[in-house]
Amino acid sequence: MIGRVKAQTVETGKLLADWIEDRTGAVSMMEKFLYEPVPKRGAWLYTLGSATLFLIVLQFLTGILLLFYYVPTVDHAWNSVYYIMNEAYFGQLIRGIHYWSANFLMAVIGLHMARTFFSGAYKAPRELNWVVGVVLFLLVIVLAFTGYLLRWDQDGFWASVVGIKIGSYSPFIGGYVVNFLIGGDVIGPATLSRFFAIHVWLLPAILAPLIGVHLYLLRRHGEFGSEFEYTERLAKLKERQRLEEYERRYGLGEEEEERRE
């Protein structure tokens, strides 16, 4: 009896998988993604990239949740964050994850970039992936900056004041930069609306597809790049080149030649 149920379940599962494969090609795509060979050496180093992705996904999830209560107006913003922290169930956790994963994100991105830089992973044919990565890095920095103001407390507010003042020192366009950022000539309701729009809609909308491009380029060229994954092959290459050099200079016995073939 149990055997028959099991067999039927397997059969149904197979049919379902076949149907999905036929209609979408998703199964073979999954197979291709899951069973692609990747270097065994340095596998732990390559978790930095996926950790970045994971933290950004956490940002998206908790950010969307925070929007259920957050009100982006100067007279309600602080109160709504206070509500999230003290009244909403698990509000402290949801905002805590948003806050702490943002902090981890900055650190992990730094490590990820350092890893890429020192292993020379930006070299051809992966130049564009480096460029996209730098754009993502800048987007995350601006996200961190704009998100800080949203809670409308002293810490975030004054940090933004300093940041906006820094913008005012842009050569030639300083005044325009400031007026664009604060939406007027003094910090007020318009400033919060703008930072909210930039933090919640504009930048995530740019970030998400660029992450897609980053991952696509990664799959296209493979996640290789560090020479230390190739130490054995490089050693073999060197050895062969050395032998050839020797052969070119002094010639080799017939039997030696045969052995190498």
């Binding site: 300093v162 007027g184 318009a190």
Partner: protein
């Protein structure tokens, strides 16, 4: 997979593509950019300000002490997005009135009040000559540092105004004496009226940008 089919592009096709591009390009680029830049255009190009040109009362001159500056909080009403009073009148729905809160440091030049101050108490009528004398000796400064906008504080031990962010230093007149700030503290346009009170308006000897 089927072979790719590349039809030639005719002259009218090309024209059509151009029209589509022009329509899309115009409607989807210029209005959104202008939309987002509204405040910039209104303030920088048309010269409007969010802050209403009101005169706010600070304090009586007799209350400004000798040898140290005093800080006040002055609120200037602003019209910005949903706080705009013209719009609230239109909708009939009144929102909270929005203001920009300014920290203001007021001090006597070099900490020394002029001699005419001795005879002036609250409620006294102040004469034109006295006003002129007092005005010349009064400093009315914004509290944000001219460097990066942090609030400056009075440090009594050294008798200097200190910016806690990057160590900008100003003397009691708000003049820059040390640290990275590029200039003196921003000064308000102020006036002393016959009742002896100091009034300020949202106008500076430079653009502090944020306040």
């Amino acid at each position: 997979m089927a072979e790719l089919q590349k039809d030639p592009i005719t002259r009218s096709d090309f024209l059509g593509l151009g029209v589509i591009g022009a329509v899309m390009g115009t409607i989807l680029t210029i209005p959104p950019v202008a939309f987002v830049l509204t405040p910039l255009i209104k303030t920088e190009v048309e010269g409007e300000s969010d802050v209403l040109r009101t005169w706010e009362r600070v304090d009586h001159v007799a209350n400004i002490p000798e040898g140290e500056p005093v800080s006040y909080v002055i609120e200037f009403p602003i019209r910005q997005t949903y706080g705009d009073d013209r719009i609230q009148e239109e909708s009939g729905v009144s929102q909270q009135e929005f203001t920009v809160r300014n920290g203001v440091w007021v001090s006597w030049r070099d900490g020394q009040p002029p001699e005419v101050l001795g005879g002036i108490g609250e409620g006294d009528e102040v004469s034109r000559d006295q006003i002129e004398e007092l005005t010349q000796h009064l400093n009315v400064m914004n509290s944000t540092c001219a460097h990066l906008g942090c609030p400056v504080r009075w440090v009594a031990e050294v008798e200097e105004l200190l910016c806690p962010c990057h160590g900008g230093l100003y003397d009691i007149n708000g003049e820059h004496i040390g640290g990275p700030p590029p200039r003196d503290l921003y000064r308000y346009t102020f006036e002393i009226r016959e009742d002896g009170f100091i009034y300020i308006t949202h106008e500076f000897d430079g653009d502090p940008y944020i306040v």
